[in-house]
């Protein structure tokens, strides 16, 4: 699929980038002095998870990807921060959800799965199916990278 790869760009930065971003966010968490009380494990877990996702989104390309934009926007909303995204030079294939009604008629098998996928992938609600699959591919790559980084960190830090 040489021609396909030419049009679909799912390049993902190296692990180092993910690692740096993640460690940075973790140290930020540390600075916030969240980890003093041990009974807030759940809170810590959630914070770490959120930090992991945000750092992954940043490492994966910030605002140049639809899913990362949606992720960052979601996270910023939680913090009540106002996030401003720079205008994209490339046109974004935004498809309004009303168009998806028509796509329901197209290969309903595919569309059902696409609907489930949309719930999983951040920002999927506004994407058309083909764009959704592109974003899913990139998302999968970044997720696996992030998982590897976190695994390494856990392994490095866990006492044995």
């Amino acid at each position: 699929m040489a021609s396909a790869d030419k049009t679909i760009n799912t390049d993902v930065p190296e692990k180092d980038v993910f690692a740096i971003h993640f460690l940075q966010s973790l140290s930020n968490l540390r600075i916030q002095n969240l980890f003093n009380s041990p009974d807030t494990t759940n809170y810590r877990v959630r914070k770490i998870k959120k930090a992991a996702y945000v750092s992954m989104a940043r490492a994966a390309g910030g605002t140049s990807r639809l899913w990362s934009r949606a992720l960052l926007r979601r996270a910023a909303k939680g913090n009540n921060k106002i996030v401003r995204f720079p205008r994209r030079k490339r046109k974004v294939t935004w498809k309004i959800s009303s168009k998806r009604r028509r796509s329901d008629q197209r290969a309903p098998v595919v569309e059902d799965a696409a609907e489930r996928l949309r719930n999983l992938v951040p920002g999927g609600g506004g994407m058309e199916t083909s764009k959704l699959m592109e974003e899913t591919a990139h998302y999968i790559k970044c997720l696996s990278m992030q998982v590897k980084v976190m695994q390494c960190l856990v392994d490095g830090l866990s006492p044995k």
Binding site: A4, P13, K15, L23, L26, A107, R116, Q146, C152
Partner: protein, 507 residues
């Protein structure tokens, strides 16, 4: 009564004579426009449009008003005076035009409130000011007349000063008024090119000249353009001409560039439609080409790289369009073409995903594949959650000072390494290129810091994985510990073994 008022109110010009041309069947009738369909108004409106007793500038205004028929304002116009207000308010031209453009489709269907404005006498011509405002809806009704269109184009091109001259000449035929009102896309579009030429050659127009855009814009039925004012006449005309839509006008081909500019991402349907046009010209023979598609040749099909419409070099990303041709023996309906393009896009991406998701090679079929993909994404997300839980419990105090670590390491590494990964410009930090070793060092230093007070050092890290990056990391950590370089003072150790790593020790 109203007509005479009209005459008096406007500076008289010699348009009245034109208006009264009996040959014109656009006599403004007294029938109630509200109830009557728009059709009945088409001609009446035309009459009044061109020859009015107003001065050229006013005339232009009224024309502009006409073209930029603002349905809301017209409908609100209760009486003749209302009609006047619509017209005389030249300042509303652009706003009404833009709103009108948005409503152009609606307006065509809207019933005229024209009857309110029309004097009950239903006389000819004198209602021009009012009628002109209602012209837009009647556009659809006008008989196609190529001469009309040319006259209208010429008419619209003239600036206000020349208006009288221009009006005088073509207005000899009252039909000329109807030029602007040529409704529907077809006729006007067919003549869009001539209009475009005329418009481009026109002088810079002021407000009144915005009228020029109207015939083209309106004829295109999808005028999404803003009418900012005079300066953009030519551009708008072209773009409006380029808006030839599924009506499948050949004139739209000439405006491909404009159309692409605006509708860059729009509708494979439009693309396939345009390509469909080109298909129809050469016969639907077996020599069909498909743009961007390298799919295996189905029997009897020739799928070459796409051939673009127009004379441009085949460069799909440049113009944003995908030109599709129907394969031999397949339907050439624009919808099915777009459908096919879409399906192939999706299957192409699914193949791409198949390589990503482990264990999907044996699976065939979209449904199962998609389920696998969904499961994989879910499992990855669960893994992230699990690992974050682990991190939270394993390392209650994550007290590694990263700023110093990163800064100094970054400085050190910047000199010697070459960038391998593209760093997105929106990254918060300006990262130098980092080799793999950086992560190892980081983790090892972190590991040393955390683990040294906690657990026995020797043989602390026995790792199964020896391959790849993780293996290197573990090896590094193991070696560091084995060498006994660890000192109670992590900072000293860090600075000793690492290039200026700054690690804070937990108290």
């Amino acid at each position: 009564m109203d007509v005479s008022e009209e005459k008096r109110n406007r500076d008289s010009s010699n348009y009245d004579d034109r208006v009264d041309n009996p040959t014109v069947d656009w006599q403004v009738s007294g029938s109630n426009p509200v109830s009557a369909p728009i059709d009945s108004y088409s001609q009446e409106n035309l009459i009044s449009a061109c020859p009015s007793s107003c001065s050229p500038s006013q005339m232009m205004d009224s024309f502009g008003q006409t073209l930029w028929y603002d349905p809301t304002s017209v409908q609100q116009a209760v009486g003749y005076g209302g009609g006047f207000s619509v017209q005389s308010n030249g300042g509303n031209a652009s706003s009404s035009s833009s709103s009108f453009r948005g409503n152009i489709d609606r307006s065509l269907e809207m019933g005229w409130n024209l009857p309110n404005l029309l004097p009950p006498k239903g006389n000819n011509g004198l209602f021009l000011p009012n009628v002109s405002s209602f012209l837009p809806p009647s556009m659809a009704q006008f008989p196609a007349d190529s001469g009309f269109i040319e006259r209208a184009a010429r008419f619209s091109l003239f600036s206000g000063g020349n208006f009288s001259d221009m009006v005088n000449q073509p207005l000899g035929n009252p039909e000329s008024i109807g030029l602007f009102l040529q409704g529907g896309g077809t006729t006007m579009q067919g003549h869009c090119q001539s209009n475009e030429l005329n418009v481009v050659g026109g002088e810079p127009h002021n407000d009144e000249s915005t009228v020029v855009k109207e015939p083209n814009v309106r004829s295109s039925e999808q005028s999404k353009l803003n009418v900012p004012g005079s300066g953009n006449v030519s551009e708008d005309t072209q773009s409006s001409g380029g808006n030839g839509q599924k009506g499948g006008e050949t004139s739209s081909k000439g405006f491909d560039t404009r159309k692409r500019k605006r509708n860059g991402q729009n509708s494979e349907a439009a693309q396939s439609h345009r390509s469909q046009q080109s298909e129809e010209e050469p016969d639907n023979n077996g020599d069909k080409k498909r743009n961007k598609e390298q799919s295996p040749n189905s029997p009897g099909n020739k799928t070459n790289s796409g051939k673009q419409q127009g004379k441009q070099s085949s460069d799909p990303p440049k113009d944003g369009y995908i030109h599709v041709r129907a394969r031999r023996g397949q339907a050439t309906n624009s919808h099915s073409l777009a459908e096919r393009v879409r399906r192939e896009k999706i299957s192409e991406r699914m193949k791409f995903l198949q390589d990503l998701v482990p264990g999907c090679n044996k699976v065939t079929g979209k449904a199962v594949m998609l389920d696998e993909i969904i499961n994989y994404v879910q499992s990855l997300q669960r893994q992230v959650e699990f690992l974050s839980m682990k991190l939270a419990t394993v390392n209650p105090q994550m007290d590694f000072n990263l700023e110093g670590l990163l800064a100094k390491d970054a400085l050190q590494l910047r000199a010697g390494s070459s960038s391998t990964t593209p760093f997105p410009p929106n990254m918060s930090m300006a990262y130098p290129p980092l080799p793999h070793g950086f992560m190892q060092q980081t983790l090892s230093s972190i590991g040393r810091t955390i683990s040294s007070p906690l657990s026995p050092i020797n043989g602390g890290f026995k790792r199964q994985e020896t391959t790849g990056w993780e293996g290197d990391l573990q090896n590094v950590i193991h070696i560091n510990y084995g060498a006994g370089d660890v000192t109670p003072d992590p900072q000293a150790a860090a600075t000793a073994s690492l290039p200026a790593a700054n690690m804070k020790v937990e108290p």
